[in-house]
């Protein structure tokens, strides 16, 4: 069974239709890349999945559980949304690390706040804290940041910040990890280190959705590719289907800019 099913998703901003009838599904352990030009609705789609935007229509199901159904207003209650969000993780283009916390604290904060709601928190406070800390440390080590844990975001390079942000998202063990153009704010030199980390996660069969302009990377890392244009999924398939044998004229035109450039 698919881990994620999106059916007929719609989204309007004022009078502009940003997402027009988006449907796709994703299997556990797979990597889905979403490509397309700016303004095609890729970022809005990710934001809808993370409940940062409220879709105007459609359904979102994770592991068979309906998280959002436009026909059921009850599925958008504030307290419910907070729990539902935890199925997804989101890594932003601009990192959005919390500047007043160290790399380690950034990774630990949300987990600690969630732990406080546990009934046995008071009794096992120290134990829980140590658990969260050791998990956060091993995540940062996995990201190649073992010697950067006590640094504040402004003391880190963009690539390091983004890797902290990835660790922060992973700390909550989301079912699906989303990336919104994770390397667009980085120097070409720093892009590689972030892509390497994402590739490593793909090799460990982390379920991911990646919005990206790095075509070579998308082709290399994905099990499935969506090409979005003007709020629609114009074409989808395996990387070789979309990149090597695109059916649509618009896809060919879009990809030619990357192969010729």
């Amino acid at each position: 069974m698919a881990i994620l099913e999106v059916e007929h998703l719609h989204k309007n901003f004022e009078n502009t239709e940003v997402l027009k009838d988006i449907s796709f599904s994703l299997e556990k352990g797979q990597v889905l890349s979403i490509i397309g030009s700016s303004g095609s609705g890729k970022t809005t789609l990710l934001r809808c999945l993370n409940f940062l935007e409220k879709p105007g229509g459609g359904r979102i199901r994770v592991n068979g559980e309906t998280l959002f159904d436009a026909e059921d207003p009850g599925s958008m209650q504030e307290s419910e949304i907070r729990k539902k969000r935890l199925h997804f993780g989101l890594v932003f283009q601009s990192f959005n690390l919390f500047p007043q916390y160290t790399a380690l604290e950034n990774v630990m904060l949300a987990k600690e706040l969630l732990a406080k709601a546990q009934p046995d928190y008071k009794a096992r406070k120290k134990e829980i804290h140590a658990e969260i800390e050791s998990e956060a440390k091993s995540l940062l080590k996995q990201m190649g940041l073992a010697d950067r844990m006590t640094n504040y975001p402004h003391q880190l390079s963009g690539g390091q910040c983004q890797r902290v942000a990835i660790a922060r998202a992973l700390a909550l063990k989301p079912d699906i990890l989303c990336f919104d153009e994770p390397t667009s704010a980085l120097d070409p030199e720093l892009t590689g280190e972030v892509l390497k980390v994402i590739k490593g996660l793909a090799d460990q069969e982390t379920t991911m959705i990646i919005v990206t302009h790095e075509m070579a990377f998308a082709r290399d890392v994905s099990s499935h590719v969506l090409f979005m244009d003007d709020g629609c999924i114009l074409e989808q398939g395996t990387p070789s289907e979309v990149f090597e044998h695109p059916k649509e004229e618009r896809t060919k035109q879009f990809l030619s800019r990357f192969t010729n450039g």
């Binding site: 993370n50 969000r85 959005n96």
Partner: protein, 227 residues
């Protein structure tokens, strides 16, 4: 010179008493205006239009007119309308001055807060949301400190201005340090026609503002560890 050495202890004693009143007005204003400013800031950012317009009009009036005129209106208006003043004696004058100063400074503070709140990037809140935090957790654990960092420098400016602005309360005869200094011009405790006590009040303001500058600078430095 001999005269001044005799006058000095008497004058200093009076100035000290006046300065205590100045300090009281300063702290009461801060205590009232810091929270009231936050309410006005939230009001002016409210999505409920009538409330935000009302707050903006109030801020416009208070910031658009001299504090001295506001003090005169607060002090004399009730007497003119109801026939007798509601502000009785030195306590009455202190309360009237406090009301004027608190409202005036709350309006200035509210604009500083608004800048601080709106200056925190939206991405901070969104990052908190996708990490499953509640709105209040995001406010207290993520955005609040970033706001404080943003507002400390402009607030320091206002606070230092407030120290000197307390002298405006002289206009309704609050017995603060300017009033105390001036009394030796007209004649008090056997000293008359002396202007140096009035000049000397500047030393009090200068020293107090020096202390505040150091303390506020330390606070600013404390928040320097992040950007």
């Amino acid at each position: 010179m001999e005269l001044i050495t005799e006058q000095f202890p008497i004058v200093i004693h009076s100035l000290n008493i006046g300065f205590i009143q100045t300090l009281k007005l300063f702290f009461v204003t801060l205590l009232g205006a810091v929270p009231l400013g936050l309410l006005i800031a939230f009001g002016s950012m409210s999505k409920f239009r009538p409330l935000s317009y009302l707050m903006k009009v109030i801020v416009w009036i208070i910031r658009g007119t001299p504090l001295m005129i506001q003090l005169l209106i607060i002090y004399y208006f009730p007497g003119l309308v109801f026939g007798n003043s509601i502000w009785i004696g030195e306590t009455g004058r202190f309360v009237a001055a406090s009301v004027g100063f608190i409202f005036n400074y709350a309006c200035y503070f509210s604009e500083i807060y608004r800048g601080g709140i709106q200056g925190v990037p939206k991405g901070q809140e969104e990052a908190g949301l996708v990490l499953g935090m509640t709105k209040s957790q995001i406010f207290f654990k993520v955005t609040l400190l970033q706001m404080i960092k943003r507002i400390v420098p402009p607030m320091s400016n206002e606070i230092i201005t407030l120290v000197k602005d307390t002298s405006l309360a002289r206009i309704i005869a609050l017995q603060e340090i300017i009033w105390a200094g001036q009394s030796f011009l007209k004649g008090s405790q056997g000293i008359a026609g002396q202007i140096w006590p009035l000049f000397f009040t500047a030393v009090y303001y200068l020293i107090f503002n020096g202390v505040l500058t150091v303390l506020l600078g330390r606070l600013e430095k404390k928040l320097d560890y992040f950007r």
